[in-house]
């Protein structure tokens, strides 16, 4: 059976112990200004490593726009 | 390099230094027009004043800030364009500005406040030259 979470409203395969930092790596998100929310709760950058996401969580990784 | 040394443990927050400074340079008794400012941080006195580190020298877009022969960092108000970047970038948060004036102002280690301090919590000192160059 495959478990799924939502990242930016798109499905991502979930595994036990998955952290925010893991999602950054899976998605290859390297932008300098990303706001992370899990079930609408803002997660601070220093906690990306220790924040574990659960099956069914709604994760938002909002890239702030830029450009001149 | 001449600078105003401080020993915060001696400060009793009497405000004498602030009064001397603002009276000398702005002819008024106003803490917010004093180059030295006494604050309270976690119920302890904090003496906030320029360390003459000189970070602001490189921030200034018009080279209005220079170090004089004695090592004191000074602002040439004639050249200054009032951009206040030096205020925002001061690592000591000791570069001052007041909305009544166009140019910022700062401690030049004149020592008048030190003379007036009843606790001798502040004093004008001179760094060794080798140190000052860092």
């Amino acid at each position: 059976m495959i478990f799924i979470i939502k990242v930016n409203n798109r499905e991502l395969e979930w595994y036990e112990g998955m952290t925010i930092e893991d999602i950054f790596k899976i998605k290859n998100y390297t932008w300098t200004k990303i706001i992370v929310k899990v079930n609408k709760q803002v997660i601070d950058e220093e906690n990306y490593k220790i924040t574990i996401v659960n099956d069914g969580d709604d994760v938002q990784m909002l890239h702030l726009l830029a450009g001149g | 390099m001449k600078y105003l040394a401080k020993d915060q443990s001696k400060c009793i927050q009497c405000g004498q230094c602030e009064e001397v400074c603002s009276t000398t340079y702005f002819k008024t008794k106003d803490k917010f027009k004093s180059c030295i400012q006494i604050n309270e941080v976690e119920s302890k006195p904090e003496i906030n004043v320029c360390s003459q580190c000189g970070e602001c020298i490189d921030i200034c877009p018009v080279q209005a800030i220079t170090r004089d022969k004695l090592g004191v960092v000074r602002i040439n108000k004639k050249i200054c364009v009032g951009c206040l970047m030096c205020v925002g970038f001061c690592p000591e948060v000791a570069m001052r500005q007041h909305d009544e004036y166009l140019e910022p102002f700062k401690c030049i280690a004149c020592g008048l406040c030190a003379k007036s301090c009843p606790q001798k919590a502040i004093s004008v000192e001179v760094y060794q030259e080798a140190l000052a160059e860092n």
Binding site: W31, G67 | F89
Partner: protein
């Protein structure tokens, strides 16, 4: 350089003396009109209507241009104008990014109005010299300079036969000439173009600002749309301004304290957060190069691909560690702590007429790196800096040049054009030596340089006619729209950004909207209505900066620490409030976010109708090349096959098994093109335009823009 000799060549054609006047709440309330055909100079009044509905900057530029030209004015007609205006906030020194000028003219590339925003000291000095705008009209017989002496109230038109044309030379000559001593040099700002601007349509204007540490005039560019070409066509070599004694209160602001407060807050954000965020102070706009590649958004080889492994060779740290000087006050106007104007100092040139000279290169900025670098398959930092330098001094827009060269290189590799046609140059992707020779040809006005200088729009026609190329294929791969080359982002996977480029007024330039992340990555604007709302709000909001003389970068290239807790972090609410505060501080006008957007909308609709007045500005003109929306060629499709196949399956329920790439491409294309049409419908509706892209009279009335001259243009197109 013998300044006296240059002076001897001068001939005074007209001198005009004026009262210095006063600046009240950010306005001088008059504009300077200079006609170089008739050698006529006069002062014009700024009317209450101009201030109320057009604000300043780009608003004043377009308004003035409209009234100075006719529906049949072409870019090289004498009546075409170059209008330069800062705006009411322009010139304050306390808030970062407040020294911008907006330059408007009828463009040689698009034949409609172009607006280009530029830093440097000219805009603020113009206002301090007594003028809200400078309007230049006419065409001189011989090469001239215009000098504005803002200290003494004198304007002169002089013949200047001996001065150089290339910017880095003439700016130095004129600074030497007009400054009394070294300390006086920062009081001089020079506008100039360059030799290649004379022989191409993509000429730009350099606006100088004197760097007191490097002791050199540096430049910011009004790059887009060929205004430098108009400048040289008018036989202007330079416009020089002198103003001494800049102070922090010259705008006579209503409430200086509120400006100081906002400025200090932003200086502190820059101080504490920039190193952790975008590193603008260290590397400038180049910071995003590698990241764009990681997200498949960096144009590579004429926008075929969105990333390349060699991008690491031109990463920001390569420039920082090997070329850029650090720790300098690199703002292009006083008080800009974002300081993104980076330079490579003591850079030795290896080609061209200045070979062997050690020069200061302003850049490379992101657009130049992407356009002249990855998009041309050039991943050599030295090469990019050399192209950057020559584009600047020759007066050439690096975006139009980069995108045009990328197009040429693809055509060369696909054997659409050959070596015979290029005059022996092997214009393959990555060939720096042969491609920079084209740039030198543009300067000399010879060979293939004359063709490339026409830009992609005209090259498509030339290649079809002279080389027998398939015009449809050229339309698909030629990254231009309305005659203007695309700026440097791959929009294939973001429908909203396809509109962000395609539904602009002046042509595909990212300054109206950059919403790729919101759309493609964040998935925040999934429906057509959502995308239309973004393509309403952001172009209006971003237009607003150009009305006031502000730079957009300090709005969103640093963000407050608590921004993530706000309801709409993408808009950066705290910074928007800063702007409302600053506008109040200068002008005394109390705006809210709704009125702010309406101010822009008035000018935005005016510009749209200006386009219509000149025969464009309709739905047909908003069509985009398919390269900006999807894979044109088999190689592009197959390089990202997993993605495209996946979309066909998921979105269209199309069975890709056993299908050829060509079959799949056709299905994908049909889908994407229809999506774009639906997007247009939604955006036009949101903007209050009819299905042909014409602003409705009802909307104009609602905005208070039912001016007779506008109604006259649109009334029969409702």
């Amino acid at each position: 350089m013998d300044i006296n000799k240059l002076k001897e060549g001068r001939k005074l054609l007209k001198e005009f003396k004026y009262d210095l006047g006063s600046i009240e709440k950010g306005y001088t309330n008059r504009t300077l009109y200079v006609n170089i055909s008739e050698n006529k100079i006069e002062s014009k009044e700024v009317t209450p209507l101009m201030k109320e509905k057009f604000i300043g900057g780009k608003g004043f530029g377009l308004y003035t241009l409209w009234h100075g030209t006719t529906p049949s004015t072409k870019w090289n007609d004498p009546e075409n104008e170059i209008v330069i205006s800062g705006g009411p906030v322009c010139g304050i020194t306390q808030y970062p990014g407040a020294g911008k000028s907006l330059v408007c003219s009828i463009s040689p590339m698009t034949d409609i109005p172009i607006d280009s925003n530029v830093g440097g000291y000219f805009g603020p000095y113009l206002k301090f010299s007594g003028w809200d705008a400078l309007e230049v009209q006419g065409k001189a017989e011989n090469d001239i300079v215009v000098f504005i002496d803002g200290d003494n109230g004198v304007v002169r038109i002089e013949e200047a036969p001996l001065e150089a044309v290339d910017s880095h030379v003439i700016a130095e000559q004129l600074t030497e000439m007009y400054a009394e001593n070294e300390a006086d040099k920062r009081n001089i700002s020079v506008i100039s173009a360059g030799t290649a601007a004379e022989h191409s349509r993509m000429g730009l204007l350099n606006f100088s600002f004197y760097d007191v540490r490097r002791k050199v005039q540096r430049f910011k560019q009004a790059g887009r749309g060929g205004i430098g070409t108009v400048f040289r066509d008018k036989k202007i070599k330079a416009i020089i301004i002198k103003f001494s004694n800049v102070k922090g209160d010259l705008n006579n602001a209503v409430d200086k304290a509120i400006i100081n407060k906002a400025g200090l807050k932003l200086h502190k954000e820059m101080h504490y957060l920039d190193d952790k965020q975008n590193r603008m102070r260290q590397v400038g706009t180049a910071y995003s190069q590698e990241i764009m590649s990681a997200y498949d958004l960096l144009p590579v080889m004429n926008f075929q691909y969105g990333g390349h492994e060699d991008v690491k060779k031109i990463s920001p740290d390569v420039f920082k560690n090997n070329y850029l000087t650090q720790g300098m006050a690199d703002g292009c106007w006083y008080g800009c702590s974002m300081a993104c104007a980076k330079t490579a100092d003591g850079f030795e040139l290896l080609t061209g007429p200045y070979k062997g000279q050690k020069v200061t290169v302003d850049g490379a900025e992101y657009e130049t790196l992407a356009g002249c670098g990855s998009n041309c398959g050039i991943f050599d930092p030295r090469a990019i800096l050399e192209i950057n330098f020559y584009c600047d001094t020759y007066g050439i827009d690096t975006i139009s040049y980069g995108t045009s060269m990328a197009f040429v290189m693809e055509c060369y590799e696909r054997k659409i054009i050959n070596k015979e046609f290029t005059g022996g140059l092997e214009l393959k992707f990555g060939n720096f030596e042969d491609s920079i020779e084209v740039l030198h040809q543009m300067s000399r006005g010879e060979g293939f340089g004359l063709i490339l200088g026409q830009g992609v729009h005209r090259m498509k026609k030339i290649f079809a006619e002279k080389c027998g190329a398939d015009p449809d294929f050229l339309f698909d791969i030629g990254m231009e729209q309305k005659g203007l080359e695309y700026s440097e982002y791959v929009s294939k996977e973001s429908l909203a950004q396809q509109g962000g480029f395609g539904l602009t007024n002046k042509g595909p330039q990212h300054d109206e909207a950059w919403i790729i992340f919101m759309d493609m990555v964040n998935n925040q604007i999934p429906t057509f209505e959502d995308k239309a709302e973004a393509l309403y709000y952001f172009p209006m909001f971003r237009t607003w900066f150009g009305l006031y003389g502000l730079c957009k970068l300090p709005w969103n290239d640093v963000t407050p620490a608590n921004n993530k807790f706000t309801s709409e972090p993408a808009k950066i609410p705290e910074h928007v409030q800063n702007y409302l505060d600053v506008v109040y501080g200068v002008t005394g006008k109390k705006l809210n976010t709704t009125e702010m957007v309406r101010e822009s909308e008035r000018v935005y609709n005016f510009q749209r109708i200006f386009n219509i007045r000149l025969g464009k500005g309709l739905r047909a003109n908003d069509k985009i090349p398919y390269r900006s929306a999807g894979p044109v060629t088999k190689e592009e499709y197959e390089a990202r096959q997993e993605r495209f196949d996946g979309q066909l399956k998921e979105i269209l329920n199309y069975d890709v098994e056993g299908k050829t790439t060509e079959e799949k491409m056709a299905v994908l294309r049909k889908h994407r093109e229809s999506q774009y049409e639906k997007l247009i419908d939604a955006v036009y509706k949101r903007r209050g335009w009819n299905s042909n892209g014409v602003p409705t009279i009802e909307r104009l009335k609602d905005l208070g823009m039912d001016l007779p001259e506008l109604i006259e243009v649109v009334k029969d197109m409702q």
